[in-house]
Symmetry: C2
Subunit: 153 residues, 2 copies
């Protein structure tokens, strides 16, 4: 199948997801060696899980099916340009290429954009709207980072 | 319980996760009205799911338990400063404040940093290492964005 055909399938997933009143109009699929290994749709409305974006659901399924967190040999087709959460997950999963159809601008126009989140996470911590507040660790208690270093180095 | 006490619990989750050889040294918990509503640890090594960070797991559980994707009335305690995936999810879930103990610099020092991902997602698309490639949608096929607009506007 061609890139266009895989993308058309991702778009059909998105369409059916909204048509069946199950969720927002996003679909994704992951392909390895020309075979589809996972599909995902936006399940946020149904599950209440704000992380259940189509790309995330597809990544989770692909990693479970393939038994690895490394999807560097796979390609991701997302009906819409990924949000920063999904793009970060794409980096964590080591994809090389990602294909998308609808742009971030088109997402903004129907009220489903994430430009604000992209802008926020690019800011220095102290300038963000959500405050990240440091709580000092008690140095007399167990130190998970020291343990990790001891085990893995 | 104080911020320090909740944080100590998150750090203990992180420590036990590594001590029990279950995963990386990260723990998180979500508190609403002084009560813990969800806990999470880094499950990546055990599940192969690269999105199974402690904060993500806690957010998923809290949303499932509370039946909402809106955690604006909750507070998140993360043992380590969140990666961009988790920080984006924190925005999508509408937290107001997030507390953390270990810094991004400390994460980098034990090989668990995500500064590279922060840098990458802040770049314009064409400058990123992972290529996002646009595939034009066939305009004669069903349009999920038009359907979403029709249903919701």
């Amino acid at each position: 199948m061609s890139h266009e055909e895989f993308m058309q399938l991702a778009i059909e997933l998105a369409y059916d997801n909204t048509k069946n009143k199950k969720g927002k109009p996003f679909g994704a699929l992951i392909v390895k060696n020309g075979e589809i290994v996972a599909k995902g749709v936006n399940d946020v409305l149904e599950t209440h899980d704000p992380t259940a974006h189509a790309e995330m659901q597809a990544i989770r399924k692909a990693c479970c099916t393939l038994g690895t967190a490394d999807l560097s040999e796979c390609e991701l087709y997302a009906s819409g340009e990924p949000c920063p959460m999904c793009l970060s997950a794409i980096y964590l999963a080591h994809f090389k290429n990602v294909y998308y159809a609808y742009t971030a601008d088109e997402e903004e126009k129907i009220g489903l954009g994430t430009k604000y989140v992209y802008q926020q996470i690019a800011l220095p911590m102290e300038e963000r709207d959500i405050k990240l507040i440091k709580i000092d660790r008690n140095p007399q208690k167990n130190d998970p980072f020291a343990l990790w270093k001891e085990i893995t180095y």
